[in-house]
């Protein structure tokens, strides 16, 4: 292939990637990220400020609504929009930290399992099987029920119940990378095992990690909100989407907005991660489609 052709090929690839860019997904994610970072500045009210007189005000576009509370207020007169904005913070912090932590655990174990094979592989893969057969939410709930629902505990529990996906994909990737000549050459050249894993194998799995991490972010956010919804996640008065939905549930017959808008927020974020994740997968690593079910 001539040099110009290579350049042109690359150009087409980039153009194709741009054309399929999920602008909706990226926009949604960026908006939430922005809002979460700048919560103190963009939220119209303090999320815990109560105003009983204004309790259960409907959203601004409804009869009885008022434009000072765009999405209405909850049973204690707290501004729903402000609580959703602050809730984004909690969801994204838990999401990002848990994804990074579980990514570390999963990648580490996946690398070991794929590279060393044999007993190490068997043991790790059996642990993966065991974990996959246990309902994650039930395990997480019982651990949190036992150790108490602090933010750290929640993040750690989510991480140790979600690392499996990374381990499986990384292991599969390592197996195919390991078969390459450059790994053998590195061994011959006297590289230490750590160095081979770090400089020769790990770079090959980064693309897959980015893809899984993005898709997992959505799942982790749903997971955290479910824990909070069941009362064993983030604790009040911290505004969390799951808690808001659990509280709103009691008023579902006459204040539909309380159990609707926080859920819309979750759905939008997760939709964003799904769209961006699917796109990244197609651009970075088409082979993953089969591996991630």
């Amino acid at each position: 292939m001539r040099r110009e052709e290579v350049v042109m090929n690359r150009y087409y690839r980039i153009a194709a990637a741009l054309k399929s860019t999920p602008f909706l997904g990226l926009t949604v994610l960026c908006v939430f990220l922005f809002v979460a970072l700048l919560a103190p500045f963009v939220a119209p009210y303090n999320p815990s400020e109560q105003d009983i007189v204004q309790a259960l005000t409907p959203p601004a576009f409804m009869v009885g609504g008022h434009r000072v509370h765009l999405l209405g207020t909850d049973e204690l007169g707290r501004d729903l929009l402000s609580r959703i904005i602050w809730g984004a913070r909690v969801s994204l912090i838990v999401g990002f930290v848990a994804v990074i932590l579980s990514g570390f655990i999963g990648t580490g174990l996946g690398l070991l399992s794929g590279y060393f094979g044999g007993v190490v592989d068997s043991v790790i893969m059996r642990v993966v099987d065991i974990q996959l057969s246990m309902p994650a939410i039930l395990v997480a709930l019982s651990i949190i029920g036992a150790v108490g629902p602090s933010l750290q505990n929640i993040i750690v529990v989510i991480a140790i119940t979600t690392w499996v996906d990374y381990a499986r994909v990384v292991r599969a990737e390592v197996l195919s990378i390991k078969a390459n000549e450059f790994v053998d050459l590195a061994k011959v050249a006297g590289c230490s095992t750590f160095r081979i894993l770090k400089s020769h194998i790990f770079p090959g799995v980064i693309n897959s990690l980015i893809v899984i991490g993005t898709l997992m972010l959505g799942r982790v956010i749903i997971f955290e909100s479910a824990l909070s919804f069941l009362g064993l996640g983030v604790q009040p008065p911290t505004p969390s989407w799951g808690i808001m939905l659990a509280d709103g549930r009691q008023y579902i017959t006459f204040a539909w907005w309380l159990s609707t808008f926080p859920g819309v927020a979750i759905m939008l974020v997760v939709l964003g991660t799904n769209l961006v994740g699917d796109w990244l997968r197609d651009v970075l690593d088409p082979r993953l489609r089969a591996a991630m079910k």
Binding site: M134, P135, I137, L138, L141, L245, I252, S259, N274
Partner: protein, 321 residues
Amino acid sequence: MQPLEDVRHIHSGKLQMKGYFLRRFIQSLIVVLGISVIVFVISHLTGDPTDLLLPPEATEQDRALMREQLGLDRSVVVQFAEFIKNLIRGDFGESFRHQTPALSLVMTAFPATLKLTLAAMLLSIVVAVPVGIVSAVKRGSLYDRLGMVVALLGQSMPVYWAGLMLILLFAVKLGWLPSTGGEGFRSIVLPACTLGMFSTAAIARFTRSSMLDVLEMDYVRTARIKGIPEYLVVLKHALKNASIPVITMTSLQLGRMLAGTVIVETIFSWPGLGRMAVQAIYNRDYPVVQAAVFVASVMFVVINLLVDLLYTYIDPRITYK
């Protein structure tokens, strides 16, 4: 020469299959053992249960006696051995709250969960597979796009929120269906829809992509050239071949659903295993938590084992690794 080799191949295939079944079975046993280890560890994270079992005015002597009764004064290894011994007999101890054996409590709740899961599974398959097929056949049409957008939304929603929205629409606003369980046939509709929502979306997307792969195959083109009616080409030649990955996917969804019952049963007050487990966790009733986690996990292992064995009958090409 050729036929002889074929026979030999089939023969060794059968042997391989036996070995594979055995290996799969042993693997499952190891997984069950691992599950029991985790269940044991979880129950020991709480620390001293005597605070839960005894009134606050109990003396230190009472507590020590209680610990001795529960075997907590012995070493962890001995406790674990005891735990396994009881587990084999199906004895998880008595519920702290109800003073009845934990396993029988859990088993009384199990049929309700099974009913709900099966209803949800049936619903998702009945909805998702046709949607996936039509989307694949009419690829790029408005129908396809709409179907896939709805499926993507369905996959992005938290289960419990979808449940709340269904309650809001069908129970509160329209008043068509009850929002809680135990009121005859109509009461299963909303929980089953909620539980099946994610899987419906996933199976529909998966059926579509699996069908798209198959529809490009040579044998599909050949069938068309032979003049076979299009609906037969799609349903017989394409769907049959596209079904295997869909079945794998569906069986994986079954496990996901079992986990989903934890939340769905809580929202709809459905008297099943999931709700019982959550309430036991709230009450720190650890024998019941142990039994529930164990039963749910073992169910999943059994389902997986059955599905794997089923495959070898559906598709003889599958290799027994």
